[in-house]
C-alpha cells in the first residue's frame, strides 16, 4: 500500500470515485463556494451574523427536501414536476386538519397525502408506462387544483405547536435543517447500501439489463416516485410551519429549483448518474446565491436573471471539467 497517494494517482481514479462513492470532488464547484463565501464575508456585514446563517439554513430546507426526492426520481431516468403542487396541498391540509386533531396527527396525515400523490405518479409511470414528464405535468395541475379545492383562502393554524418544526432551533441551527440533513443521510444510505437503492440507479442506467437480472422494475419506479412524494409532503408541512400560514398558491415553480440543484450537483437527466452529496452542494449553492443577492439589495427581477445565468455557468464548468 502507498502511504500517500500522489495527486496524479488520485486524478486517475477520479471517475471511479465519482461513480461509486456518490462523492463529487469537483474543483470549480468547491471554488465557487469558497469564492462566494469569502466575497460575501468581506463585502456584507450581515452575511456572517448568526441570524443570517440561521435564516440561510432555514431557507434551504424546502428546496433541499424537494431536490432530494427529485434526485431519486432523476436517477431512474424520470422527472417529477408535481413536487411544488404537493408542497401546497400538504401544507394547507396540515394547517386545515390541525384544527380538528393534534398537530402531529395532522402533519402525519398530510405527509401521507404527499406519499399518495407520489405513488399515483409512480403507478402511472411504472404500470402504464407513461412518460414521467407528461404524468407529473398532469399531476402538477391536478394537485394544484386540489389545494384550491381544499381551501381557496389561506389558512392560519391556531395551535402554537404547529410552528415548532419550522421555527424552533437548537442553538443557531434550525430543527428543520437538522431534519433535512437526516433525510439526506438516510437517502445516501438507501442509495448506496440497499438493494432497492442500487436497483433504482441501475434502472436509470439500463432498464432492460435490470429487468433481465430478475429485478421488478415497476416496483422500484413506484418506490422512487413515492419517496419524492414523501419528501415533498415533508417540505410542505415544514414550509407551512415556518411561514405560519398555509396558502394554496405557494411553491409555484419550486420543482425547477429542485431540478436545478440536482443538475448542479452532477445528476444526469438521462438517469443513472447523480449523487446525494452533489445535490446537497447544489442546494447550498442556490441558497447562498439567493441570500447574497438579497443582502446586496439586488432588485428581484435581476436576481432571477443572475441566478439563471449562474446555474448555466456552473453546469457548463462542471461539464468541461468532466470532459477533461
Amino acid at each position: 500500500m502507498n502511504a500517500v497517494a500522489s495527486p496524479s494517482a488520485i486524478k486517475a481514479r477520479l471517475p471511479e470515485l465519482r461513480a461509486n462513492r456518490g462523492l463529487v470532488i469537483n474543483g470549480s464547484f468547491v471554488l465557487a463556494f469558497v469564492v462566494l463565501v469569502i466575497v460575501a464575508a468581506f463585502t456584507s456585514d450581515a452575511f456572517l451574523t448568526e441570524s443570517n446563517v440561521t435564516n440561510l439554513l432555514r431557507q434551504m430546507v424546502t428546496t433541499g427536501l424537494l431536490a432530494l426526492g427529485m434526485l431519486v426520481v432523476i436517477l431512474t431516468g424520470g422527472i417529477d414536476l408535481s413536487v411544488g403542487s404537493i408542497v401546497a396541498l400538504t401544507g394547507i391540509m396540515a394547517a386545515g386538519l390541525s384544527a380538528h386533531m393534534s398537530v402531529a396527527a395532522a402533519m402525519t396525515l398530510a405527509v401521507i397525502v404527499g406519499v399518495a400523490c407520489g405513488s399515483a405518479n409512480g403507478i402511472l409511470v411504472a404500470r402504464f408506462r407513461l412518460a414521467p414528464f407528461v404524468v407529473t405535468l398532469g399531476a402538477l395541475t391536478t394537485i394544484r387544483g386540489l389545494s384550491f379545492v381544499y381551501s381557496e383562502t389561506p389558512i392560519t393554524p391556531l395551535k402554537p405547536g404547529f410552528l415548532a418544526i419550522g421555527t424552533n432551533t437548537v442553538g443557531p441551527i434550525p430543527v428543520a435543517a437538522i431534519v433535512m440533513v437526516v433525510a439526506f443521510a438516510i437517502v445516501q444510505v438507501f442509495l448506496t447500501r440497499t438493494s432497492a437503492g442500487r436497483a433504482l440507479i441501475a434502472i436509470g442506467g439500463n432498464r432492460e439489463a435490470v429487468r433481465l437480472a430478475g429485478i421488478g422494475v415497476s416496483r422500484h419506479l413506484l418506490l422512487a416516485y413515492a419517496i419524492s412524494g414523501f419528501c415533498a409532503g415533508l417540505a410542505g408541512v415544514i414550509l407551512a410551519s415556518r411561514v405560519g400560514i398555509a396558502q394554496p398558491s405557494v411553491a409555484v415553480g419550486f420543482e425547477l429549483n429542485a431540478i436545478a440543484a440536482c443538475v448542479i450537483g452532477g445528476a444526469s437527466l438521462a438517469g443513472g448518474r447523480g449523487s446525494v452529496v452533489g445535490t446537497l452542494g447544489g442546494v447550498v449553492l442556490l441558497a447562498l446565491i439567493d441570500n447574497l443577492l438579497t443582502l446586496y439589495d439586488v432588485q428581484s427581477y435581476w436576481q432571477q436573471v443572475l441566478k439563471g445565468l449562474i446555474i448555466v455557468f456552473v453546469v457548463l464548468a462542471r461539464r468541461q471539467e468532466e470532459e477533461r
Binding site: 471517475p15 461513480a19 461509486n20 440497499t194 438493494s195 440507479i201 442506467g205 439489463a209 429485478i215
Partner: protein, 493 residues
C-alpha cells in the same frame, strides 16, 4: 468505376478487414457473399462513409476518394440501401424520398411538383402503385423497401449498394427489383448486391465475390460456379487450437422444450439440453435464434409450447421466474441489455444476486465484494478493481463481468447468445475453457452463435435454425461448416 486496394479496418485490437482488393466497372452487378462476421457489413459501411478505413486506397472513376462521411460518399455518387430501413414513418412517401431536397417556389415547398417528382421516381422503381401522399408508416414493409430504393435513386447515383434487399421482398416484388437492377445496369450504374440468398445472386449478378474472415477468397462468374461451390467458399476452413477438446458425457435432461412457438418469430421449436452438454444453435441473423433464447428466459412470451426444467414443467413469464427455475441468459448485446455501463464491476456482477447478500435490509457490501471477487479472480478480469465503472473495460472483460453476474446466480442451464461478439481472441479462448469447465460441474449450456467455427468447435451438437424453424440437429463430430451453412440458408439436400 470503383477500385479498392488493400483496404483494412480494425475495431479496437480486432482487425476485421485484412486488406480488401476489389474492382468493379460501370454497368456491372457485383454480388458480395459471406457468412455472418466475414466483414461484409464493415466493407459496406466504409463505402457508404459510415466508418473510415484504417488503411488502403479507394478510387471512384479513377479519382482517389477519402469517404470520410456519408455526405462525401453521396457526393461521390454512392448510395446505399441499408438492411435497416431509414425512413421517417410519420412523413409522407414524397417527403421521405425527397428529404432535404424538396422543390420550392418563392421559399415555400411546391407540393404539386414534389409529389409529381416522387411519383416519377416510384414509377421508375416499378411501383407507380404507391400514392406519394401516403404516410410511410402505414405501408407494408415490402413497399417501404421500394421507397427506400426510390429515395436512393433520387440523386441519380453512379454506384448503388443494396444490402439484403430481398429480405422483405418476395415473388412479384422481387421480379420488379430485378427488372430495376437490369435497367440500372443498362444505364451504366454499378450495383453492389449483398445477399444470403444464393439462388438470387446466381440469377442477377455478373460476378460473385466471396468474403471470408475479412479477406476476399474468390470472384467468379455465375456460369462457372454453383450455390454449393459458393457455400464451400464461404465456410472455408480455419485452423485454430482455440477450443478445448470435448469428451461429452451427457447426463440427465436439464432443459426440455416442446413445440415452442412465438407468432411472427419462430414456430414449433423442440430441443433439449442435458447436464454436462454444450448444445450449439446456429442460424443467420433473423432466423429466430435470439427470440427463442428470450422466450426460454421469460424475457418474451411464447404463444404455445411447453418448457420443462429438470423434468418439471415451468411457466416462464418473467426473467425472475426463469432465474428461480435455474436458467441464466447472457444476451447478445451486452451494452444494450447486459450492463449498466456507469456502474462499477461489483454492482453489475452482483445485480442478479443482491437478495443473497442482504442483511437487516442493507446490502452487505463486504460479502458482495467477496462473492464477486472470487469469480472475477477466476475469470481473470482485468484491470483489477471492483470499483471500476464497466464503461472503461474492454469488450472481452465486459463480457466476463456479464458472465460473472450469471455464474453467481448458480444456474443449471446457461444460455449464451453470441457470447464472443466483439471479443478479442485471447478472451475467446478463456471463454471456451470456462464453458468446458462449467459443463464438467454438471451445467448444461445452450450456445447461440452465428460464428460457424465457434458453434462447431465449442459445442457437442448443433441445432440449425432457418426462417423461424429448427431444421437440423447434428452432432458436431459428424458435420462440418459447409453442411451447417447449407442448412441455415435452406439449400441443404
Amino acid at each position: 468505376m470503383l477500385a479498392l486496394e488493400a483496404v483494412r479496418k480494425a475495431y479496437g485490437r480486432v482487425e476485421v478487414l485484412h486488406g480488401i482488393d476489389l474492382e468493379a466497372r460501370a454497368g456491372e452487378v457485383v454480388a458480395i457473399a459471406g457468412a455472418n462476421g466475414a466483414g461484409k457489413s464493415t466493407l459496406l459501411k466504409i463505402l457508404s462513409g459510415a466508418v473510415r478505413r484504417d488503411a488502403g486506397e479507394i478510387r471512384i472513376g479513377g479519382e482517389p476518394a477519402e469517404l470520410a462521411s456519408p455526405r462525401e460518399a453521396q457526393e461521390r455518387g454512392i448510395r446505399t440501401v441499408h438492411q435497416e430501413l431509414s425512413l421517417v414513418p410519420q412523413l409522407s412517401v414524397t417527403e421521405n424520398i425527397l428529404l432535404g431536397d424538396l422543390p420550392r417556389t418563392r421559399g415555400l415547398v411546391d407540393w404539386r411538383a414534389a409529389h409529381a417528382r416522387a411519383g416519377a421516381l416510384l414509377a421508375r422503381v416499378g411501383f407507380d402503385g404507391i400514392d406519394p401522399r401516403a404516410t410511410v408508416g402505414r405501408l407494408p414493409v415490402a413497399r417501404r423497401q421500394m421507397i427506400e430504393i426510390a429515395k436512393a435513386l433520387a440523386s441519380e447515383p453512379r454506384i448503388l449498394i443494396l444490402d439484403e434487399p430481398s429480405a422483405v421482398l418476395a415473388g412479384e416484388d422481387l421480379d420488379r427489383l430485378f427488372d430495376l437492377i437490369r435497367s440500372l445496369r443498362a444505364d451504366g450504374v454499378l450495383v453492389l448486391y449483398v445477399s444470403h440468398r444464393l439462388d438470387e445472386v446466381m440469377e442477377i449478378a455478373d460476378r460473385v465475390t466471396v468474403i471470408k474472415d475479412g479477406r476476399i477468397v474468390t470472384t467468379s462468374v455465375p456460369a462457372d460456379t454453383s450455390p454449393d461451390e459458393i457455400v464451400r467458399q464461404m465456410a472455408g476452413r480455419r485452423l485454430a487450437q482455440v477450443f478445448p477438446p470435448r469428451r461429452p458425457q451427457p447426463g440427465r435432461e436439464l432443459l426440455a422444450v416442446e413445440g415452442l412457438t412465438r407468432e411472427g418469430a419462430f414456430a414449433d421449436v423442440t430441443l433439449d439440453v442435458k447436464a454436462g452438454e454444450v448444445v450449439g444453435m446456429f442460424g443467420l441473423v433473423g432466423s429466430g435464434r435470439t427470440e427463442v433464447a428470450e422466450c426460454l428466459f421469460g424475457a418474451a412470451r411464447a404463444t404455445a409450447g411447453e418448457i420443462r426444467v429438470d423434468g418439471k414443467p415451468v411457466d416462464l413469464r418473467t426473467p425472475k421466474q426463469a432465474i428461480a427455475a435455474g436458467l441464466a441468459l447472457v444476451t447478445e448485446d451486452r451494452k444494450d441489455t447486459g450492463l449498466v455501463l456507469d456502474m462499477c464491476v461489483r454492482d453489475n456482477a452482483g445485480l442478479a444476486t443482491m437478495a443473497k447478500v442482504r442483511r437487516w435490509g442493507l446490502l452487505d457490501r463486504k460479502r458482495q465484494s467477496a462473492m464477486v471477487d472470487e469469480v472475477v479472480d477466476e475469470l481473470d478480469i482485468r484491470p483489477r478493481g471492483l470499483d471500476r465503472p464497466v464503461r472503461h473495460l474492454s469488450g472481452g472483460n465486459q463480457q466476463k463481468v456479464v458472465l460473472t453476474k450469471w455464474l453467481l446466480s448458480r444456474p443449471r442451464v446457461l444460455i449464451l447468445d453470441e457470447p464472443t461478439r466483439g471479443v478479442d481472441v485471447a478472451t475467446r479462448v478463456d471463454l471456451y475453457r470456462m464453458i468446458d469447465g462449467l459443463t464438467r460441474t454438471g451445467l448444461g449450456v445452450l450456445l447461440i452463435s452465428s460464428d460457424l467455427t465457434e458453434v462447431l468447435g465449442a459445442s457437442d451438437r448443433v441445432l440449425v435454425m432457418h426462417e423461424g424453424r429448427l431444421v437440423a440437429n447434428l452432432p458436431s463430430a459428424d458435420t462440418d461448416e459447409e453442411r451447417l451453412l447449407a442448412h441455415s440458408i435452406g439449400v441443404a439436400a
